[in-house]
Amino acid sequence: MELYLFLAKGTIILLIFGITLLIATYSTYAERKVAGFIQDRLGPNRAGPWGIWQPLADAGKMFFKQDFIPARASKWLFIAGPSLAMLTACLTSCVIPFGDTLDLSFLGIEKPVAIQGIDVNIGILYVFGLVSLGVYGVMIGGWASNNKFSLLGAIRAASQNISYELAMSLSIIAIIMITGSLSVSEIIKDQDTFFKWNIFRQPVGFIIFIICAFAECNRTPFDLPECETELIGGYHTEYSSMKLGFYLFAEYINMFVSSAVISALYFGGYHFPGESIVAGLLPEGALGHNLMTLIGVGAFFGKILFFIFFFMWVRWTIARFRYDQLMNLGWKSLIPLAIANILVTGAVLLALPEIKGYISSL
């Protein structure tokens, strides 16, 4: 029954990919709606009921605009930039488990199928690898434009992303130490009860991680690579049409992926409070298991959507940092804090068996 397994896995991968793109598309709409609501406006509401066709209208506009490549630009790199940004953004979601396993024994598949693109044991490493590769999209685009402002924007983006990647990876190390695994599905399995969610075990790590996630996605208050007043546009000053669209769209995919990673690492992924009660209500066997998995997927997407909203909420609340403030925060506050967090976590992990032993010996 290799064929069925292949088909089931293929369907899941295509679904994840499709949902990633759909959510990213509608994030552009949600962003404008949220911005409107926070500023006491209504947001886009002309295209269709409540403006729900707005993303299609935007995409149509993007496609029909003139696709301009500057004469002195490096043509291949100019095209490679947005492609790379889009590619790395799309690749990241494949290691994230969006749900528990599906029991497809009625199709003759013996092993339960995980709702995940690929379950690699270095999932987290893969995510960070791709995220750091994403900087190249911006870098190449800014360099290939042959424009001072684009280059400055690209340099800003690169230095910002590299600085914050350090603190981000360091904050993750504490979680890896607790779980003892780099696999995202293992980390989620480790948070099976509400109070074992990593947000409670690693609050400092969570704050560092979410701040860095904002910086990695180039979102406010760290949206310095884009800047009308100083840089005309930023790294995408020379871009137009769908190439610009790819850059902007990649940002929203990254936002979706970051939300998914935050939910998976710190908020228990597809686990939700009261899980055992719900599981008791469902029928036994394959059907009950599959229903439980689907509810878990729903819970996971609920968390993801909340964090996407949180990204937007913060964007329309806080003013941006100055560049030196950004660097000070990254290098002088977050990295030392992350290292201290690792040390404290390590000390507690070492001391915990001793304390438990001491308590039981009393």
Binding site: G36, F37, I38, D40, L42, I207, T317
Partner: protein
């Protein structure tokens, strides 16, 4: 220095406390404010469907009124043109011929009456100057935008009140401003 009032606030450059330097409590406060606005009633008026009610004393597009029998009130005395600070109004007078009594109220009427809307400053002095209550600035109608210079000069074809509005209007002065109603009352009572 002696303070004149006790409202002035002394500026302090005190060191920020740890909580203030952390910045996160301030961020949470800010998020609370934006969330409050998120659920607030929106102030947007969706223009083509909804329209902001206009003030009763708004001075919009001019109209040359007709009387109850549909006769033009204007007698081409030229007082509006004299009163106009922007010199936007010009007119040519003509004498009413026998058989035209149903068209013009007075023996003299404006054969040509033009307002240059590029010059007009919508001050309303013409309506105050008019002894016949013939010209008014409507409070519910705006002067439209123009696409060519020829459109700018409004002749009688676009200024004179249409016959339909006389029939449909609740009163002679419906849609006019409060001050107009006052003037009209005085004029009707014959107490100048």
């Amino acid at each position: 220095m002696q303070a004149l009032t006790n409202r002035s606030k002394r500026v302090s450059n005190k060191k920020l406390s740890l909580g203030e330097r952390l910045y996160l409590p301030a961020v949470v406060g800010g998020l609370g404010i934006t969330l409050k606005h998120f659920f607030k009633k929106k102030v947007t008026i969706q223009y083509p469907e909804e329209q902001r009610p206009m003030s009763e004393v708004y001075r919009g597009l001019h109209v040359l009124k007709r009387d109850e029998q549909g006769r033009e009130r204007c007698t081409a005395c030229g007082l509006c043109a004299v009163a106009c600070p922007a010199e936007a109004i010009s007119m040519t007078a003509a004498e009413r011929q026998p058989g035209e009594e149903n068209l013009y109220r007075e023996e003299k009427y404006a054969a040509v009456y033009e307002i240059n809307m590029l010059r007009c400053i919508f001050c309303g002095l013409c309506e105050e100057a008019c002894p016949k209550s013939a010209i008014y600035l409507q409070s519910d109608k705006l002067a439209p935008s123009f696409y060519s210079r020829a459109d700018v000069i409004y002749g009688k074809d676009r200024l004179v009140q249409s016959m339909e509005t006389i029939k449909t209007a609740k009163s002679l002065k419906s849609g006019l401003t409060t001050s107009d109603r006052y003037v009209d009352k005085v004029w009707k009572n014959g107490k100048y």
